[in-house]
Symmetry: D2
Subunit: 292 residues, 4 copies
């Protein structure tokens, strides 16, 4: 398939490399050039401009956030020059507001728009094992399906409205953050009663909390090893903000998200914004006093 | 083994029946008589008074809460008449304060004290598959070990201080409650964007949240089916209170527990105290407006 | 003085009328025309366009929010046509981000910019008794001073950076909202113990809480009389959002603001957005159960 | 009048001294002796035991907390030996649960019970300017009225049920704590935007927040001068706990109280428990990062 690809951060590089390896023709663009050159060495074509990449059968974008998406012109200018019938698959975590705006901007220009955010980190992406949540017109999803099969372990179809996929991704990240915060608070509490994080997690992750999220973040919190960051705290704060904004737009109070916001913000204030978001455990620890 | 058993609620009946079935001699006592008679029909001996049951090699108690434990006299009178060397295994969820008091009261009278709270509901107990968290003197735990093997799938040893086991149980229930609240908020949020609870949970429990707790409570929240209660909301509120009290005694702020307290309290205020604690999802729903 | 005036909501009409009455030459503009005509009848000049009003010695704006300010062009286009040396006095409650943007956009075009938000409602404005918080270049504030003397009971000078005034206004409204929420929770609590809101407020506002804010909002909450709204709940929610955004930009966690956000949002979700913001007391009441 | 007086902390000494000075016969008891001797030098009679003091026309108690009240025997033993018809006026801040228990224990023994907590600190008490909130049988309040007139600036009658007075006191202290927390958060926020606490407070306490509470605590927070403590943070935490317990018993969620609990607890964890409770401002400051 003829695939355009914009956004070669860690996730983008992993996904694009898999598409190339699977035999697709992939034109890649990124704001900085080194990732483009790296992908080109692996068989992708280097695109000089976003417009050069935003064409073909399917154009995939994996940009950092709402601002980056606007900056590249995906809410306007870039769409003007796109070939009619192009299907744009946006795999980033995006606000519900921008999702609605993008969906209607694409529809107005005869372009397909699929929101297809993913769960999984770079290593999962590299292994082609992402969990993909796709929403958009059925035909557009069908077109992208062979690509999803390369990238992911499983793809869920969430119906024709892209905002559904955005909401699931935002809700999922909110739940991840909540699990981390609960782990953080529980770990500090237990430690005050002589129970090591290791012991606590051994019990919990081998009984009711036998899930990847608790094992992964439990290990990070236990070891207080937050670098290199799998997902940076500033991004965690951003995603909590997306949840709060989605809640506000839909009039859904989210008291856990409010607590998370304050906790991540406190972590960032203390200089931990570039650490893994599980470093929010250090916020819990600090609040419990200087002796811990 | 010669086992005393006090407290024949749902959990107590299931555990005691397994001990009888495994060939142990079990003397059972309960405040109300019918459960005693039921167990007697299955081969247990009926004890007329707490003191009559609180003897043998090991005495197990599975009473409702701190108040019930005090009422039976386990913080004082009942210990006076207990045979020297008796090992008391307390399997209830107990406050850290009472745990410390019990540990020292038993020690003062030459009795063994093991805190051995469990994770699992009645059906899990009936299947002999409980997760048991034991703390107390090693010799005392050794004595009870054959009983733990009958009751549980696995027993963790958490060292000589019973408060460690109490803390793990309290921390674990706090994490359960947090997972439920996160599910509740996420479900309401997603529903406002056209995503059914069923879809949301299909994605989440088949990716990062592939754990018993999310599957079980996700299904209850999805179906809004909170009866019969697996664990009543009033007990959830009680356990959150135990977490807050443990945090306060150890000077550990627990902002998630504060949110949980207010949510469960609101649920109880609206008449849902006897429903399963996952009915806290109805609190999230109600807060989001009358039209949901 | 030659004064331009943009924004004739309730506050704007009251302030502009006072300036006219004090003998100033006032050119008024508003998006809808009736308020313009009303002021014209009282001696103001009707401006046909924002640019027509945005000139003279001082231009005052009292627009609804950030969006209205941008829409009129005050962050860009409108400044291009403004006469050099014009001093713009912005009396609205504005985000810290927009304040910084406006300050620098004005400076770049040689225009003065004074942030001068006010405390007080329409009746206070009509009486010329506003509390005005002004920040900007000293010369620019000096130029506007005679106007402040007409409008207000007292004006504070907060230095050269307009963001200082924006922050004080945002902090002040956050404190107002906090006082209302505290009143709301306390009132519901006391009522459950047989103490009427009237009794509670009689004690409190005649002892430690002998302040206008407690008397005013106490009376509204006591009477459950939230219409006509002195300040609508949707605006309260907006101002809490400004506080949270200011906190986030400066990395200051504001847990009370998080609670306020959820409470106002819940009030709006229940259809009370157009009521006075003290109707947040109904949220406290509803949470305490259907029987209250 | 013949007055017994138990509890000679700072408040107790000030009140008792005023009663002596007003010509009443006052028998004083305290757990430690020096305050007893001090009052004796000023004309009081020294009582050797609580029972020796708990008699006369009216017995006033001003003990530290629920535990101290129980310890002295006021929920039981001490009442047995009290002369029939004695009116007990309890001026301490007491839980609603203990208030109910005391009211019924006194009634059962034919003793009068008036809950009469006060607003005001030691200096206010010394000046005879307390605000007194009295609830109990009308005749019992009448009996104590001349004493209230000596102690206070004004006394409110809140009806026959002592719990009403307890609730007003608890609600009032909750509102004080809320005002302090709002000041704390607002001050830190404003400081990040270049506004000193002095400037912020000058504006606020001269406009909408022109109340003793904001002036007093604003000054303490501005000067970061938390010693000597007017009211210690550990007592603040205790009173927030009373509010939460009263809320829980009456099924009233109090989200502000939950935030306050976590903030005071964090302050205590950081060693500030003996400082004035306005030192909770240091919690806000610390959360905003190490550079503030």
């Amino acid at each position: 398939m003829d695939v355009g690809f914009l956004g070669l951060g860690g996730m983008g590089r992993a996904v694009a490399a898999n598409l190339v390896a699977a035999g697709h023709r992939v034109r890649v663009w990124n704001r900085s050039r080194p990732p483009v050159e790296e992908l080109a060495r692996r068989g992708a074509e280097a695109a000089a401009t976003p417009a050069d990449a935003f064409r073909g059968d399917v154009a995939i974008t994996l940009l950092a956030d709402d601002a980056a998406i606007r900056e590249v012109g995906l809410a306007g200018p870039l769409l003007e020059q796109a070939p009619s019938g192009l299907v744009h698959v946006n795999m980033a975590t995006v606000s519900v507001d921008l999702t609605r705006e993008l969906a209607s901007a694409h529809a107005a220009r005869g372009l397909g728009y699929v929101a297809a955010p993913v769960f999984g980190r770079v290593d999962v992406a590299a292994a082609g094992q992402l969990a993909i949540v796709a929403a958009g017109a059925a035909g557009a999803i069908d077109r992208a399906w062979p690509l999803f099969e390369v990238m992911g372990r499983r793809t869920w179809r969430l119906g024709p409205d892209p905002v559904a996929a955005a909401a699931v991704k935002i809700a999922g990240n909110f739940m991840l953050a909540s699990a981390i915060e609960a782990l953080a608070e529980a770990t500090v509490l237990a430690s005050r009663y002589g129970v090591s994080a290791e012991s606590l997690l051994d019990v919990l992750t081998n009984s009711l909390f036998d899930a990847p999220v608790y094992k992964r973040y439990g290990a990070l919190i236990e070891g207080r090893k937050y670098e290199p960051a799998g997902f940076r705290m500033v991004l965690g704060l951003k995603d909590v903000r997306l949840a709060l904004a989605a809640g506000e737009a839909a009039r859904v109070p989210l008291p856990f998200a409010s607590v998370l916001r304050d906790a991540f913000l406190e972590g960032v204030a203390h200089g931990d914004g570039e650490l893994d978001w599980s470093a929010v455990a250090e916020v819990s620890r600090r609040r419990a006093g200087p002796d811990l």
